[in-house]
């Protein structure tokens, strides 16, 4: 399969960390690059708009632990968040791929 035929897979997962985190993910199967991501839940991020910046920033990032962690750290470096840790958020995003609740 070449990159033009890199099929987009969508998946979703819900995880209870400190708070509930729900991930809806679309990623390219072959390249493992995030196509789009939506992070929802009852957590807190200050300032709130950072979450949209994070969702945009993650597009194009490879579904690899270090790549995700570096991007999330970069986007969240000037914000405060409660209800999840960066490492656990990375794990949830990666776990989405194998989640049974694929959509």
């Amino acid at each position: 399969m070449n990159s033009n035929q890199d099929e987009i897979i969508t998946a979703a997962t819900t995880t209870k960390l400190g708070k509930i985190i729900k991930i809806k993910l679309a990623y390219k199967q072959e390249s493992q690059l995030i196509h789009s991501i939506r992070i929802t839940g009852d957590f807190f991020v200050h300032p709130e708009e950072t979450i949209e910046q994070l969702e945009q920033g993650l597009c194009g990032v490879k579904l690899e632990k270090e790549d995700l962690k570096n991007k999330i750290q970069l986007v969240l470096k000037n914000s405060e968040f409660f209800g999840f840790e960066i490492d656990s958020l990375v794990d949830v995003i990666l776990g989405t791929k194998g989640d049974k609740n694929k959509i």
Binding site: F44, H46, E48
Partner: protein
């Protein structure tokens, strides 16, 4: 015996303006809170209620958390807050908001300081209230008050609900929890963790105002929104909090 011990509060005010806006619709209530946040000159404590039941969802939540059709069928409003946190079923409660330019930069510390007003108010009503991090107040280990904050342009808004009575079954029926997960045990678990304080709105309102004066050692000055301010709130309600663009944005 209930000890009226108060923690040392760092923030101080000369006066706090008191705004009592009565029972209003959810989108209006959220519009007034946002208006106060973006137009804060002096600290304001607003006390309000809900003219019809409403579910507010947190800024980051998916609208799918709520059974929107059922809410419509049961005449329950749905509104998205500008603050994070979970879905709240507003019915038999007193809601407050507090806006100030003077607050601890630490989010945890600011929750603690402002929540002290709630704690002292509940103690005045004979309840042994405690702060439960990050943002709850409990009595006898049960959550009776949940709070949420946002900060914009160096102004802090904290709003929260003090539960007078709770109807757990109705709340669950309006949320999109899979039917198999709404077990008797789950409902029972929530009942063991959440409680109303069985006081009237006026009792809590009076206690809250008195507590704000004591905790912050300041004068209270009642005020009302003028016509121009009301029109700004109306615009916010119409264009933002009643709009599907805002409610369904996530």
């Amino acid at each position: 015996m209930l000890y009226l011990v108060q923690r040392v509060i760092k923030i101080k005010f000369e006066k706090i303006r008191i705004l009592e806006t009565g029972n209003k619709l959810g989108p209006w209530n959220m519009a007034v809170d946002e208006f106060l946040l973006y137009n804060c000159k002096e600290p304001v404590l607003r006390i309000y209620g809900w003219s019809k039941p409403c579910i507010s969802i947190g800024y980051f939540q998916n609208i799918d958390e709520v059974d929107y059709k059922k809410c419509n069928d049961m005449n329950v409003d749905v509104v998205r807050r500008i603050t994070g946190g979970g879905a709240v079923f507003h019915d038999m409660e007193l809601t407050y908001s507090f806006v100030t330019k003077n607050f601890p930069q630490s989010i945890m510390e600011s929750y603690k300081e402002i929540s002290e007003v709630i704690i002292q108010a509940l103690k005045k009503l004979g309840l042994d209230a405690k702060f439960s991090p990050l943002n709850d107040v409990t009595v006898d280990g049960k959550k009776v008050c949940g709070n949420a904050q946002t900060r914009k342009n160096n102004v802090l808004l904290q709003h929260g609900t003090i539960l007078l009575e709770v109807d757990i079954e109705k709340m669950f029926s309006l949320l999109n929890v899979p039917i198999e997960k709404i077990s008797d045990k789950k409902i029972s678990d929530v009942k063991n963790r959440v409680a109303g304080i069985s006081k009237t709105f006026d009792q809590v309102s009076d206690a809250l105002k008195s507590s704000a004066r004591d905790v912050f050692r300041c004068d209270l000055v009642p005020f009302k929104l003028n016509q121009e301010e009301l029109e700004s709130c109306q615009k916010l309600m119409d264009e933002k909090f009643s709009s599907e663009n805002w409610t369904f944005r996530r």
